[in-house]
Amino acid sequence: MSAPLGALTGYGWPTLLYKELLRFWKVSFQTIAAPILTALLYLMIFSHVLSSRVAVFGGQVSYAAFLIPGLVMMSVLQNSFANTSSSLIQSKITGNLIFVLLPPLTPGGFYAAYVLAAMARGLAVGLGVLLVTLWFAPEVAALAHPAWVILFALLGSLILATMGVVGGIWADKFDQLAAFQNFIIVPLTFLSGVFYSIHSLPPVWQAASHFNPFFYMIDGFRYGFFGLADVPPLRSLAIVGVFAVVLVGVTLNLLARGWKLRH
């Protein structure tokens, strides 16, 4: 019955990617539809309450239009993080992560599968948010720099998916992961300029925003829509790009060492 080794030389990570895609697709009401609805509610409430009080980019862009790229990116980021982190912690706590640890998957393959699936979910939710919110500000569809939109969406989802890998592996219980999400990810997202331009902030908070990498993700993403940004887009790209490279490098190193996975 034994198969010769030559018959078994295929790679396993595409199957792990497929399994991860299937995992969120099987509960797509929860993983895709629900965050789209949440973003839509944010838009309806915030644009209704604040549109007459907030002027952004010197009045060149309506508040609803300004808000949409922010909400799209926020959804991309939060769902990318949620996918990797929730999948890993569930697998750890239920014990079925062993099925992934026993086969000969490389650390790079393991990483690629989890992160690509999370990026797919983040980008699917982001696209969904964009489509359902366009009705409120159709001018958003006239993308000034589409390549920047795609580039920042990819980088943002990559970064948060990677952070989700680290968070999911680090946390030993759901409570710890919730703390990671609620005390790090959510504040950094909400204070990154999703709902406002940092020029509307007091100088201290403006300065503080420059230390928030999420701010550059959203500002660069928004530049792709309007050709307008709070900081030069190349600076955003450089900061986000370096952050991504360092984070991916550290994460791959952790996986190669079997950090908290292979004791």
């Binding site: 019955m1 080794l5 295929g10 299937l22 099925f99 086969p103 000969p104 079997g258 292979r262």
Partner: protein, 300 residues
């Protein structure tokens, strides 16, 4: 011939506890090998290192000549592990679970073998059922199936029959026996010692992270070939106290070497006017050998 498993000087410490304190073990290809020991003896740590789930502090493990750390990609293709815990992925059906597990090993289009596994594990009718809908015994059998999807030459079963009813246990063992007959090396840990006695050709007993006995099952039984007498008595004559293997209330198990010794024991009880309420005599089985080896202070 390259050993199926070659373990040398394997040590692993968790805090102040030596889970493994220098284990040397060699399993030949095609063996049905038993790994026995009380809870905490180091069996699961040993299996985890074998499977690449745990890293050793010292020593090496080779599977068919491939180091489980340096050459892990080949080593992990050569081993199939049935874990002790009853774990499953609630998102998938039985067939999806087995297909996905095949894919992790780079094997696509594995349905013919999956169908055969399902048949042998009596799971064909439940192939499309979600894992959550299965009974404990069925989930256990799916775990066995997952360990076999890539046709590994070495199969490690960590207490695979826990929670499986008698009938299914028999069919499971028939299947595992067939795999062994087909040339697969089997390593088994179990708490059902009669199971190990019936199946395993050779047995290693672990205690506190060390191998305290390693021999063929036949030799182990022969080494402790003797009688065990179970008495319900108020006390045992002082001279016979060292022969007491176990005590539970008025019940005492004494190890004897010959039937003549039984006569001497009964005479001693009569001399001391000790009334026997109950008496039972059994010949040594693996459980008795196990109890005596574990009770041996030299083995501590």
């Amino acid at each position: 011939m390259t050993p199926a498993v070659d373990i040398r000087g394997l040590a692993r410490r968790f805090g102040a506890i030596d889970a493994l304190a220098g284990v040397d073990l060699c399993v030949a290809p095609g063996e049905f090998f038993g790994l026995l020991g009380p809870n905490g003896a180091g069996k699961t740590t040993l299996i985890s290192i074998l499977a690449g789930l745990t890293r050793a502090d010292r020593g090496s493990v080779r599977i068919l000549g491939h180091d489980v750390v340096a050459d892990y990609r080949v080593a992990r293709r050569l081993i199939g592990v049935v874990p002790q815990e009853l774990v499953f992925d609630p998102f998938f059906s039985v067939r999806e679970t087995l297909r996905i597990q095949s894919g992790y090993f780079g094997i696509r289009d594995n349905d013919d073998w999956i169908d055969e596994i399902l048949h042998h594990l009596d799971l064909t009718s439940r192939a499309d059922a979600n894992m959550r809908a299965l009974s404990g015994g069925m989930k256990r059998r799916v775990l066995v199936g997952q360990a076999l999807v890539h046709k590994p030459p070495l199969i490690v079963l960590d207490e695979p029959t826990a929670g499986v009813d008698v009938e299914l246990r028999q069919s499971l063992w028939a299947f595992i026996r067939k795999l062994n007959t087909d040339g697969h090396t089997i390593i088994l840990t179990t708490h059902y010692l009669e199971e190990a006695e019936a199946l395993c050709g050779r047995i290693a007993m672990l205690k506190a992270g060390r191998v305290v006995a390693l021999d063929t099952t036949r030799n182990l039984l022969a080494r402790f070939a003797a009688l065990t007498v179970r008495l319900s008595v108020a006390r045992v004559p002082a001279a016979w106290q060292p022969r007491v293997l176990r005590e539970a209330g008025p019940l005492r198990w004494l190890g004897l070497t010959t039937y003549a010794e039984l006569e001497e024991l009964l005479a001693a009880l009569r001399r001391d006017d000790i009334r026997i309420d109950e008496l039972a005599l059994t010949e040594t089985d693996l459980e008795h050998a196990f109890v005596r080896i574990m009770a041996d202070p030299v083995a501590a």
